[in-house]
Symmetry: C2
Subunit: 389 residues, 2 copies
Amino acid sequence: MRRFIASESVTEGHPDKVCDRISDAILDECLKQDKNARVACETVTSTGLVLVVGEISTTAYAPVEQIVRQTIKEIGYDDPNIGFDYSNVAVLTSLIEQSPDIAQGVNSAQEFKSTNDKYDQIGAGDQGIIFGYADNETEEYLPVSINYAHKLAQRLTEVRKNKVLDYLRPDGKTQVTVEYDDDKLVRIDNIVISAQHTEDVSLEQIREDIINEVIKKVIDPSLIDENTKIYVNPTGKFVIGGPKGDSGLTGRKIIVDTYGGYSKSGGGAFSGKDPTKVDRSAAYMARYAAKNMVAAGLAEKLEIGISYAIGVAHPLSIYVDSFGTGKYEDERLLEIVKENFDFRPQAIIDNLDLLRPIYKNTSSYGHFGRNNPEFTWEALDKVEELKKY
Amino acid sequence: MRRFIASESVTEGHPDKVCDRISDAILDECLKQDKNARVACETVTSTGLVLVVGEISTTAYAPVEQIVRQTIKEIGYDDPNIGFDYSNVAVLTSLIEQSPDIAQGVNSAQEFKSTNDKYDQIGAGDQGIIFGYADNETEEYLPVSINYAHKLAQRLTEVRKNKVLDYLRPDGKTQVTVEYDDDKLVRIDNIVISAQHTEDVSLEQIREDIINEVIKKVIDPSLIDENTKIYVNPTGKFVIGGPKGDSGLTGRKIIVDTYGGYSKSGGGAFSGKDPTKVDRSAAYMARYAAKNMVAAGLAEKLEIGISYAIGVAHPLSIYVDSFGTGKYEDERLLEIVKENFDFRPQAIIDNLDLLRPIYKNTSSYGHFGRNNPEFTWEALDKVEELKKY
Ligand SMILES: C[S@@+](CC[C@H](N)C(=O)[O-])C[C@H]1O[C@@H](n2cnc3c(N)ncnc32)[C@H](O)[C@@H]1O
Ligand SMILES: C[S@@+](CC[C@H](N)C(=O)[O-])C[C@H]1O[C@@H](n2cnc3c(N)ncnc32)[C@H](O)[C@@H]1O
């Protein structure tokens, strides 16, 4: 049976990603000064405008306006001709403290009253359903399609920043559809790339350059055949871009951030959230668990699903699905997960060392599948222990 | 094998849902006056503030400020003591026209140049991956957990509005975890409800009332046993709520809007988007196809996945997965879907009659599984035809 699996990614200049990055840069600044900061920071951008809202309780002083401008400059919106630029954008802020009603549930979880266990102290910062996933399709333990979509987006930014294609502008999107025969990867069926550019370059030129400098530099040529369809800037023109072509909001690329439609999503966003928010920290832990389980040979692919109640430390439920690829029954795999990974928020924070200013770099090209050393949830340091099963 | 599946929902007073509703109310006003309106409308709300941004090209005049206040009033934020109210909130607007570079791709798709077929005219408004799902677990052709989560959220709003529980305020969340034995629904493992309330009522009172007036009125008692855990307001207090407790953004409840983590998501949001945006229209069509296929007995559960390129009318790929429950192989089911459902944007718009002001009501309690007659994508009018297979 032939199956097609598609995934997309976007560059750091995509308007939603500009927002994710700003939210995470503000989070980082708070954590740098105050490990106990509670941060829920949302950003919105539209033509000429950035608005930062949310709930932040901290002793830190985060100079929001400067962080916003600096982040936009780093992304590359540094010229008024692009239609959005760091020095001319309006920056509005409306931040308040975390609701004391929420804080009381997070600061002292239901269980803590009776157990006094340090890992029972922090209650989940919200209810929610969270998934983690890994498979052995790629070195990154990610499905091929999302992996390539990210690599293409990264490469788009690289050739822009190192001026190999000096007419590129920061905004861009990629999409890769792979064909499977049952579970066997056969070929790439199609690739879509849209890249913002200056006015003075032809569509033919862009097409040729993107194929040579981006697609060919990233994709294994054996996966491309004469029927692979390649769409470069299919609208014909992409001069207007960034927040001038499309408004952006934090948390609107949650499938790009995770598994590209290959695994489920509980709906929670990551950027701008400190790790008492289980939407983020439990998703990191679930990825960590799934990746180590797969790397230890306990399954070829593994999805872990967890649910929480606000103000309660322990997950309400955990399940695993190995899609029939497990070395043991799923019931047994679940036991192994539970024995080796602790999903209470404080345990996650400690075990993955999450109270560090590491989040800005997570915000684009995937929270998973990149081996930056500070991305502790990608470490394979549980594999040895898990091999004993 | 025991499995736990959790899903959540929120009331119309949840801050993200306030935004979804405002975005869809503005979309409706545009479509009422101008069927050709192109609308991408995003809303953000925070303490005392609503900001509406996006890209709208239309001949309609939509009085944004009035629509915002009216929508907030209908939801029930009508008293300054709630911390957010329609008459005192600041309303900011920053709307521009759709990018002409995007419009050229949407107005005249790649295929149209050669075919001149009317259904080839409109190009997809964006690239993207879209899923549709249905199963026969409930009358609504939705999984039990998301179905109950929505019914609980609806009931919460009902007892607030009809004053059965007159201390309730508009914000609220629900979550239901069901237990399966393999694929058989066994029981409800836990229910989480957080409901905003006035200061003068005790947690015990709220707990008792929510159990009696909400949970017992909604959930089949045979699914509840003595081990079913019920959490009502687990933080202990939920007086501060709405945009004062948590900022809200359009498109941040995409899993609540769809299948509650039971099916995959491509990541696209619905509210505020006119149907040339395939994120919305193709998701409606995919649901319509999946639901009719299941109702015709062609599968017990069916997921349909579709991908698009911006400015191209035809989907780049379609797949179906019946999880082994199909009457035929998935390959054959896919053929049946392709023979009976046309996923080009203009075909979807015509066949589901989507250029009507019907969107405000979609914005809460699920875009799927509700039988409002204007929700054409829930109609079972293809079942007879599909039964012939
Ligand atoms: C197509 S826009 C979404 C629709 C938009 N809000 C509207 O009203 O038309 C989504 C993303 O596509 C990319 N994009 C913007 N302009 C484009 C163009 N002319 N061609 C291709 N992609 C474009 C940008 O990355 C943008 O954030
Ligand atoms: C807990 S808040 C998200 C976290 C928040 N941004 C923060 O900084 O703490 C998410 C949702 O929970 C609900 N909520 C707000 N206050 C609550 C409370 N005191 N107890 C339970 N739920 C609450 C509201 O529906 C709100 O939109």
